[in-house]
Amino acid sequence: MSETATPSQTKTGNRSSLAQELLVPVLAVVTGLIIGAIVIVASGANVFDAYGALFTGSFGSPIRLIEGLQVYFSTGETKELLRAIYPFTESLVTATPYIFAGLSVALGFRAGLFNIGAEGQFFIGALCSAFVGYSVKGLPMIIHLPLAILAGALGGALWGMIPGYLKAKFGAHEVVNTIMMNWIAFRLSDWLLNGPMKASGFRPVTPNVLPTAELPRFFDDPLRFNLGFFLALLVAYLVYWFLFKTTTGFEIRSVGANPDAAKYAGMSIVKNLVLVMALAGGLAGMAGSAQVLGVDHWVGQGFSAGYGFDAIALALLGKSHPFGVVLSALLFGFLRSGATNMQSRAGIPIDIISIIQGLVIVFIAAPAIIRWFYRIRSIKTEETVLTRGWGK
């Protein structure tokens, strides 16, 4: 894996190599969108309508923005302006859980682990946060909100730690186990939402969290842009610092790059694998927290909505680097947010995004396809070893 943060890059690498690094991911996304367009056309829809709706749904309409600004400067009225920036802020809102979840998977990759369980960890995190959010009463926000986030992180951490422990201790493959944990999480949530955590009323959803546990929003309704986004950026920086500037981060990267050498060097494989999976689970749990505390304020069935799987694509696209993950999370945030608009305006099911994601993963994992497609000369790059058979 490329160590973009170590001086190896800053000293020997230069701008052209950074461009090389970015070239394949960008082309992979572009190619994914092109094939997505082909699918849309094949399904009998107008691709321009569809992608137009995708664009305005993610960035907002430029005309509206100009009008909003005009109104604001002439009258001081913000309503039009807020409506104009609504799609953009919604995209950032959508990107927030992606950042957390992407970091979760990326951290796993760094340690040589493939965390497909972000989905379940996300759900459990959301449920834990929601529980603390609605059941603990009478606390001031300064305590209640961090407590609710912590609960989500811990719930996710527990969910990640179990497969981490099974991997470290028994060599049980984390890919299968995290997927099993996903299904267990879904079934558990079915039970919780229909039983112990069910709000009064007909639907299987939790009660709303108390206002003291909500992530504060910056604008009035319907804008949902909230503190969660900046929290995500902060956490991304912390993950970066942790991975590249601390001894434990060095251990984790060593265990990921060559577990035998790590063991030889006196590092504990078991400790690091369990730690990484707990941290990864915690990050995915925080994604759930951010979504429930910042956006929805309650949890219902199907809450995780594929975030965990999207996170895999994000981590690969971001080359498992925290900053890369932030960039790709923003991209996916815009895509998803726009796709909702595309679904309602152009009748294109939102699942098209999953198709594009699957393709992006393929192209990122097989850069040779992209190079061949665009006739880019092959550059000698490090082979990335992500997984190792069935463990051991």
């Binding site: 160590e3 001086p7 190896s8 001894t247 060593s254 790059a257 050498a261 030889y264």
Partner: protein, 510 residues
């Protein structure tokens, strides 16, 4: 006499290196050609070209005077060329018969494998050439010497009359080598021609009819074995005069550093591979552990360095017991470890050199303060060690994987020698290295001994053991057969021990 095989002007380039340059090789019918060269001289590449595994960039191959194109092993086999690979190409979980028949499987009624027919043929070949083996045994249960026979049978089953033996003696005891030479003799008598690839001078002089020496991918020359001497061959192979012995003074053994008593270890597959081993290593001496590979040496070293748990017995390091002790704690007590497999254990190839230089000490001052890594001391340390140990690298920021084998080994030696050590454990310290690197690493090991460290050298190269050791322990099937004084032993004695025969027993039975 006809030339059964001619290679003319073979050139093969890999990105960044020329593995073979305009190489000419001639094999006479019914003769043994020794292809001599040190590690990395291009012998194996050349033979892989001949066997169709690589495609040459230039040059051509002629078999029995006819120019041929060899695009893959199938073509080679069709031309009567068979290869016994250095790393045996046998599937461990399959039987001898299955391994032999693989690729040309006879069937009953066109569907079901006819194993008995092949087993019968194996027995015939065994009888004809003295290659005794049980056709229904599983490869994983056979000792390496027998596995090599299976490799030869595989080639003969395909009716090859040109045999390539790639470093066939590397894994054998001296007595097994004798056995192999007898087999080679039988093969020649029945009309086969053989290319014998090696870097061992004495073997060349013992068996070859012709000698061709390769260096840095080029043919240095061909020589008649009657006119050749070890010294002459060595200087042809290396390109300069080399001292064939390590210069070292007399050892001054002091206190015991390491005391091992009745040690038993299970390998990763839970097989008991070390079965009650006892020895001690003193300050200022080198204890060599000889033995054919796979007799428990690897697991012994793993147990000493904490990579495998101890099943029974005791290990005492500086009078402190080691039991459930982590690799880290063992390192901190002053053990340096040059691991057997440098790419598996010794280095993280995708990490830059500077990170590899502090792989075992990253958590300590000055590399870390609290939990944060300190870049400046890390870089300074790497710069110094690269200079001190003469690691050939553009800078300390490139990944360890980009270095040559010799320089990778130097990185490990530099790292391990850079901290105060009481005990040095060096496992196969020069495997696959060129002569220059071997000399350098041997000197460094002796230097550590003279500075007063205890040294344990594990090697399957008997020459290396003899060159470095003050005392020699021979391992066989997980046990130590005997510990002998290096000055009072002979290759023959060690060879018998390596084969599990105690020389005194051997005499008694005679």
């Amino acid at each position: 006499m006809t030339n059964v095989l001619e290679l003319r002007g073979i050139t093969k380039r890999f990105p960044g290196v020329i593995a073979n340059e305009n190489v000419d090789v001639t094999l006479r019918e019914g003769k043994i050609l020794a292809l001599l060269g040190e590690n990395g001289a291009g012998k194996t590449t050349l033979m892989n070209i001949l066997y169709g595994l690589y495609k040459p960039d230039e040059g051509h191959i002629a078999v029995r005077g006819k120019q041929v194109e060899i695009h893959g092993p199938n073509d080679a086999i069709a031309q009567g060329i068979g290869m016994v690979h250095q790393h045996f190409m046998l599937v461990p979980v399959m039987t001898v018969t299955e391994n032999v028949m693989l690729g040309i499987e006879p069937t009953k009624n066109g569907i079901i494998l006819d194993k008995e027919k092949v087993a019968q043929r194996i027995r015939e070949i065994s009888d004809q050439y003295g290659l005794e083996v049980d056709p229904h045994a599983y490869i994983k249960d056979l000792p390496v010497g027998i596995q090599q026979r299976v490799e030869i049978i595989k080639v003969l089953y395909r009716q090859a009359d040109i045999l390539i033996l790639d470093e066939p003696t590397a894994v054998l005891t001296p007595q097994e080598v004798e056995g192999l030479f007898k087999i080679i003799d039988t093969l020649i008598k029945s009309g086969k021609s053989i290319i014998f690839i090696t870097h061992k001078l004495k073997e060349v002089l013992a068996v070859a009819d012709d000698i061709t020496v390769l260096r840095l991918g080029k043919v240095v020359g061909s020589i008649d074995p009657k006119e050749a001497t070890s010294q002459k061959l060595a200087s042809m192979m290396v390109g300069r005069d080399v001292s064939l012995v390590v210069e070292k003074g007399k050892a001054k053994p002091g206190e015991p550093v390491l005391v091992v008593d009745g040690l038993a270890v299970r390998d990763e597959r839970q097989n008991l591979t070390v079965r009650g081993v006892s020895f001690e290593v003193r300050k200022g001496e080198v204890l060599g552990v000889a033995g054919v590979q796979g007799n428990g040496q690897t697991e012994l070293v793993y147990a000493l360095t904490g990579l495998l748990p101890i099943e029974g017995g005791t290990i005492r390091l500086l009078n402190e017991p080691i039991r459930h002790t982590s690799p880290r704690e063992i390192l901190e007590r002053g053990v340096a470890h040059i691991p057997e497999d440098r790419q598996r254990h010794g280095l993280i190839l995708t990490f830059p050199i500077h990170d590899n230089m502090m792989l075992c000490t990253y958590y300590k001052n000055p590399f870390a303060r609290g939990i944060t890594l300190q870049e400046k001391p890390i870089f300074n340390n790497a710069e110094e060690l690269v200079k001190q140990f003469d690691v050939r690298t553009p800078n300390i920021y490139v990944n360890a994987g980009t270095l040559s084998g010799g320089n990778q080994q130097k990185v490990i030696v530099a790292r391990e020698f850079s901290r105060p050590i009481e005990l040095l454990i060096a496992s196969q310290p020069t495997r696959g290295l060129d002569v220059g690197s071997i000399e350098y690493i041997h000197k460094q090991i002796i230097k550590k001994r003279d500075e007063g460290s205890g040294v344990l050298v594990v090697s399957s190269e008997l020459d290396e053991i003899l060159a470095l050791s003050d005392r020699i322990a021979v391992m066989y099937k997980g046990q130590i057969m005997d510990i002998v004084d290096a000055n009072k032993t002979s290759k023959e004695q060690l060879g018998l021990l390596m084969a599990g025969v105690h020389p005194t027993d051997a005499k008694n039975t005679k």
